[in-house]
């Protein structure tokens, strides 16, 4: 039998439909791969026994004629999604042995569609990071490697690494400033952040509520469409959930882009961008042109302010969202001499450096005397960024940019300079601020042989166009490279 872990999600679903292999066989192959991959540190919690049970149940369902959208597919869940009866950590020590009695809407949707869950994937602590080095459970290692350990990007580094290393057929991820797309770019995988409000945030540990969106990391554009169709959908339990039907996005993949107007924002050509990335972007423009799209130069003048605005809004919301981790009702409690000391010891020992840093920034920008200068101003800049996109949509249907300003870098290289680390999200953060869908598609390798992604941004609720353009890009790029299996 062929190596089942090499399959795409859609290929595996077809294979099971044709009876070529069972979910149990498929799941076992992935469990074996997971067990051999501890060097990558992609998982925080393995649920292999549970996965085999689910696979068995899936095979039984299939035998009785019930087949869900993800029937029998072994997948990974970022450890930011609460999973009933399975420890959930958010990559932090502060949650202790927290074991939810509830299932996040996103993972519940996938369960209902027949998913098999292999385990909970590693991430930056509370999804705060761009390299997966802030996880309390150690950094995730990128399967792509040149002489030294590289980061997989973050915060969904575990998800990206696991998909790139064929440990699972796809994974859930979340994206607050680029946390799906940047790791996808670093690992040669596809990652889409849908329109804000497409995926319910209910049951997903919050980082910055007005920016957080769930989405998948997958091996192909079509796989990402299949996963997103399962994850997305209206949820009355989330007040920001958009009440709209989930389209058949996988059908958009492969449709012609003839006549589609692709905007190229000049502001994304930043100073000091590696030549490889500029070249790949230029190549992408040529591919889209060749596929029949019309290339339109556009301007998004407030692009450079997106990242500083984000580093006001996100920490502000996070400082409040993370106040509930106080050691009183769940999670870690470090006893002090009194209540205040217990709060302080719990939160100081429970949170890592980056989370504490962001809580302090967030507290500062919201505090009396600074609110207007920082928080209110950042929100107004956010409006400016939205206006930039609205102007752009008058002349284009989708926007093509690089996903990240660099390829994967070495573990430890950027940890000491937060601003340098934050700059990783410079191309992705704009869509979070504006709530727009964005996808990263692997498009080539840099001079060191490391994957690079290109990003397609679309109008709100217009994932169909995003998938269409992304599939055309994927088709033209023909990216087939895989990392060497050095970790086995």
């Amino acid at each position: 039998m062929t190596d089942l872990t090499k399959m795409t999600l859609s290929g595996a679903l077809d294979g099971m439909a044709k009876g070529e292999f069972s979910s149990v066989e498929l799941t076992q192959a992935h469990i074996d791969a997971c067990k051999a991959s501890t060097k990558l540190n992609a998982f925080i919690t393995d649920t292999h026994d549970l996965a085999l049970e689910q696979a068995k149940a899936s095979d039984a369902r299939r035998a009785s004629g019930t087949v869900g959208k993800l029937e029998g597919a072994p997948l990974g869940i970022k450890d930011l999604f609460c999973t009933e009866g399975v420890k959930t950590t958010a990559g932090s020590k502060i949650l202790g042995d927290f074991t939810p009695t509830y299932e996040s809407t996103v993972s519940a949707n996938m369960k209902a569609d027949g998913m098999v869950m292999l385990g909970k994937l590693n991430l930056d602590e509370f999804a705060m990071g761009s390299s997966n080095e802030t996880s309390a459970f150690g950094p995730v290692i990128n399967p792509w490697r040149k002489d030294e350990d590289l980061v997989p990007g973050g915060s969904s580094g575990g998800s990206a690494s696991a998909v790139a290393a064929d440990l699972c057929l796809g994974a859930t991820a979340t994206d607050t400033g680029g946390s799906i797309r940047q790791p996808a770019s670093f690992t040669g995988t596809v990652g889409i952040k849908p329109t804000y409000g497409r995926c319910s945030r209910w049951g997903t540990v919050a980082f910055a509520s007005s920016l957080d969106q769930a989405g998948p990391i997958a091996k192909t554009v079509k796989d990402s469409a299949i996963l997103l169709e399962s994850m997305a959908g209206y949820d009355a339990k989330d007040s920001t959930s958009i009440n709209a039907d989930v389209p058949d996005w996988s059908a958009s993949c492969g449709q012609s882009v003839k006549g589609m107007r692709i905007g190229i924002p000049k502001e994304y050509a930043i100073d000091g961008m590696p030549a490889d990335i500029q070249a790949l972007w230029d190549q992408g423009i040529e591919w889209m042109k060749a596929a029949g799209a019309e290339i339109v130069p556009i301007t998004l003048p407030h692009t450079k302010y997106a990242l500083p605005a984000y580093y006001v809004v996100a920490p502000a919301e996070a400082s409040s969202n993370l106040a509930r981790y106080d050691g009183m009702r769940y999670g870690l409690r470090v006893d002090g001499k009194d209540l205040t000391e217990t709060y302080e010891l719990t939160r100081t020992e429970g949170f890592g450096d980056e989370v504490r840093r962001r809580i302090m920034i967030g507290t500062y920008v919201l505090s009396a005397g600074y609110y207007d200068a920082y928080y209110l101003r950042a929100q107004k800049v956010r409006t400016r960024i939205v206006q930039d996109f609205e102007n752009a949509w008058e002349t284009c249907d989708a926007i093509l940019t690089p996903t990240a300003p660099s390829a994967a870098f070495a573990v430890g290289r950027k940890v000491s300079d937060p601003v340098q680390m934050y700059l990783n999200d410079i191309f992705t953060v704009t869509t979070n601020l504006a709530g727009l869908p964005g996808i990263s598609v692997p498009a080539g390798l840099d001079k060191n042989g490391l994957p690079l992604g290109l990003q397609i941004i679309g109008r709100a609720m217009d994932e169909a166009t995003v998938f269409k353009a992304a599939a055309a890009l994927e088709d033209a790029a023909g990216f087939k490279a895989k990392p060497e299996k050095w970790w086995v």
């Binding site: 074991t99 509830y102 804000y196 409000g197 007005s210 009355a236 007040s239 920001t240 958009i242 009440n243 450079k304 302010y305 500083p308 580093y311 006001v312 400082s319 050691g327 009183m328 009702r329 769940y330 999670g331 870690l332 409690r333 006893d335 009194d338 209540l339 205040t340 000391e341 217990t342 709060y343 302080e344 010891l345 939160r347 100081t348 840093r357 809580i359 302090m360 920034i361 507290t363 500062y364 920082y374 209110l376 101003r377 950042a378 929100q379 107004k380 800049v381 956010r382 409006t383 400016r384 000491s416 300079d417 937060p418 601003v419 340098q420 934050y422 979070n432 601020l433 504006a434 709530g435």
Partner: protein, 104 residues
């Protein structure tokens, strides 16, 4: 590495760090106040560039979705799950959460 950092006019002081640490219930050792202030100033100094943006007459954006809050009907549809609520508690007794004494 530090070349990006520019000092804002009203930089964060050690005293500010003490105040925000207290507000956010984080413990900071006295000798860490100054280094943390410097660290935060590095980031806030970079954020200061927002001052360049003309935001005259611009409405602040509070949500990425332009909708009104959905309203739910007043039905009792939840609660009654004391065991679930207390399941992960570091300490509970007799149906209560037990926490350090909150009054002197």
């Amino acid at each position: 590495m530090a070349q990006e950092k520019s000092k804002p006019k009203n930089g964060v002081t050690a005293k500010d760090v003490k105040k925000i640490a207290k507000l956010s219930r984080l413990h900071v050792e006295a000798d860490r106040l100054e280094p943390i202030a410097e660290d935060l100033n590095g980031i806030l100094g970079w954020i200061e560039q927002l001052a360049e943006v003309d935001v005259e007459g611009v409405e602040p954006m509070t949500s990425a979705v332009d909708m009104a809050a959905p309203l739910r009907a007043d039905n009792v549809s939840d609660g009654g799950k004391r065991d679930d609520v207390l399941k992960n508690a570091p300490k509970s007794d007799d149906g209560f959460f037990v926490v350090p004494r909150s009054v002197e």
